[in-house]
Point group: C2
Chain length 121, copies 2
């Protein structure tokens, strides 16, 4: 990918479909992905990596086993490696994920929501 | 650092001093830092790592040897490893940097603007 300026709101506006991961930037072996979501995701963890969530549009809940964080636009959270979590978007939200290349959305849980497909926008 | 929600605008509002780097999150061995700036920085590169800039408040110019990018609030850019660059904030701006721990602000250039001090906010 050439060097370019990425406007997060603009990119979020390009994502029309739900639950499809879009690549917006790479930093060494890390990827920044956007996803528009409206769902209760599966409980899972990533035994090998921390994971960053940043809310670009709307709001989301990030459930851990012992508490629930509520994030609104402009807020981020880092889930440490190995910590079980479950993202929930009750209304449509657009979230930026940051994590190493190859990190699976469903982590160690697998199942039908697993989706490794990724395309640049 | 405990797991916490980080509001970027809120954190930016806490940074009063110019040119002091503040740590707001860590993701594996990467750090997210905030800095309020009003200066023309030195030309430098990071031979060992890409570097991400995200404008939280205001606007900045990011000069490469062959072109200048202009970034405003909500926009990010990744400078690939080894590419010479020079961030310029003509007016006060607050920028989030993302890069591996230990990445020096002045990269391979060194000099009086080098600042490895970092504190959590």
């Amino acid at each position: 990918m050439e060097i370019r300026v990425v406007n997060l709101q603009e990119k979020a506006g390009l994502v029309k479909e739900l639950h499809q991961y879009k690549l917006i930037a790479e930093l060494n072996d890390y990827q920044l992905k956007l996803v528009r979501a409206k769902r209760e995701f599966v409980w899972h963890s990533h035994p090998e990596t921390d994971e960053l969530f940043y809310v670009v549009e709307g709001k989301m809940k990030l459930a851990l086993r012992d508490r629930i964080f509520e994030l609104k636009e402009g807020e981020l959270i880092v889930v440490p490696k190995g910590v079980e979590h479950r993202p929930v978007c009750e209304t449509e939200c657009t979230v930026m994920l940051m994590e190493p290349k190859g990190t699976l959305n469903t982590g160690d849980a697998g199942g039908p929501l697993t989706d490794a497909h990724l395309e640049w926008i």
